[in-house]
Subunit: 268 residues, 2 copies
């Protein structure tokens, strides 16, 4: 089924929400097409024509719409194709609730928007890269979170997600044989255990991931990964460090849990 | 105004779409609260109670809901608080269009989902970090996009966004004085100009950003940034490299434009 995401901005909201709905139909093959930055009624007329033509194809399309400008939206809603409009009804509802009329300016959310928040996200990405995989402990006191785990448990992408999407200053630090043997956090971060968050995974999964890099190595053996993970778990328990299992969770899910733990944890 | 994002998954869809709507009211102060991973009717009853209490507060709340399980959703919809339900009506609409009933399983989209696509995103993050700021040209042939620009134009966060959110293999490569003087791409990427995408910004903005790192340096002077940007532009024009101005665009907007250019560009 052809799917159109149409927006006067990046289309990120339309895609996120639309795909969440489409994910409920895992057996249906969808062909996705994004039409972002649609701003004029003239462009809208062309797209309306395109949608009408798609209606004459073998499978009728579905359209997800996030267009704030009323004139542009009206043109698009003139299509014969079925449209799921994420803006009109919902926006009217919020306007009623607030007793305010919105200004219908496109591109607010995924533009730079709140400049301070935006700049913080950009700085957080720099911080995360500088502090990836224990490469640096410079200014590590600025870290909101220090992700710790044995090598290849998913620290890096989770750090990047938290930095880029939420402006969280994240360092990530590998746990290594020495730490597992003495059962302590690495010395450089031992005083910061209240900001640590641990990752675990299954020995089998970790062995597979490591095997892609170094096949048939001790590093990738299930014996080794089992030992490292059980020792890592012991360290988390000893320091009272919260942790999450990355083998069954996406970076989005882990990030949500980590953010929750930040809100729940008492300020030091 | 208190705002609740309630989801049986991460809440990313509820937040993304909800915040896009709220962004239409830039003067209203919103207090946001995320309640993710809500899965049981018992938890739903507690949250319903919490919402009803919020209704007795000084300002009535608004609730954004993405709960797929019908029983859990029904409990929540029993609240007195106004709810914007992004699932029910829209999902019914898609079911009708497809002639199919969805299976109402939560957590599809922001879970690992399509494992191949998910793994590609994780690999793309690794690739982007390895190829950040010209640090390595190992396997640079695997890059889908090579972002080029003078130092501090926003290459790194844009690369990370494309990698993490879209699984695009992005290298980023700085243009330096030597390149500006001879008017050519750096030799290591000269053969890959058809995969290059340039960033520009304004001399003033670039001078400010650089000044944060090295105040009062030649590097941060407007003379220098003006020269670098005009020479970078000349290189883009010479090779026919598309580019975007990062001074007025967010990483989300730039990424959308870069993805569009990938679709539009003829395959080499």
């Amino acid at each position: 089924m052809p799917v159109y995401f149409i927006s006067d901005s990046t289309g990120i909201s339309a895609e996120t929400m639309g795909n969440a709905l489409l994910a409920q139909f895992p057996t249906v093959p969808f062909e996705r097409r994004l039409i972002p930055f649609l701003r004029t009624t003239r462009e809208a007329e062309e797209v309306r024509e395109q949608l009408n033509q798609a209606m004459d194809g073998p499978v009728e399309p579905i359209v997800f719409l996030t267009v704030v400008d009323e004139e542009v939206r009206e043109v698009l809603l003139g299509t014969r194709a079925p449209v799921i409009d994420f803006v009109s009804g919902h926006l009217a509802r919020i306007e009623a609730q607030l007793g305010l009329s919105s200004d219908h300016a496109p591109a607010r959310l995924h533009g730079v928007g709140d400049v301070r928040r935006y700049n913080r996200r950009m700085q957080a990405v720099e911080f995360a890269i500088e502090h990836d995989d224990g490469q640096s402990v410079r200014a590590i006191q600025r870290a909101d979170v220090i992700l710790i785990a044995p090598s290849r448990c998913g620290k890096t992408p989770t750090s990047m997600y938290l930095a880029l999407m939420h402006g969280v200053f994240v360092a990530n630090y590998p746990l290594v044989d020495e730490d597992f043997e003495n059962g302590n956090l690495p010395q450089t971060i031992a005083d910061l255990s209240d900001r640590c968050f641990g990752l675990l995974t299954s020995p089998k999964r970790l062995s597979e991931v490591r095997g892609e890099r170094r096949p048939d190595s001790r590093y990738a053996s299930v014996d080794q990964t089992h030992w490292e993970l059980s020792r890592a778990r012991r360290i988390y328990d000893y320091y009272g460090i919260p942790f999450v299992d990355s083998s069954s969770k996406s970076v989005e899910e882990m990030s949500t849990l980590i953010l929750q733990s930040l809100t729940d944890r008492p300020a030091p």
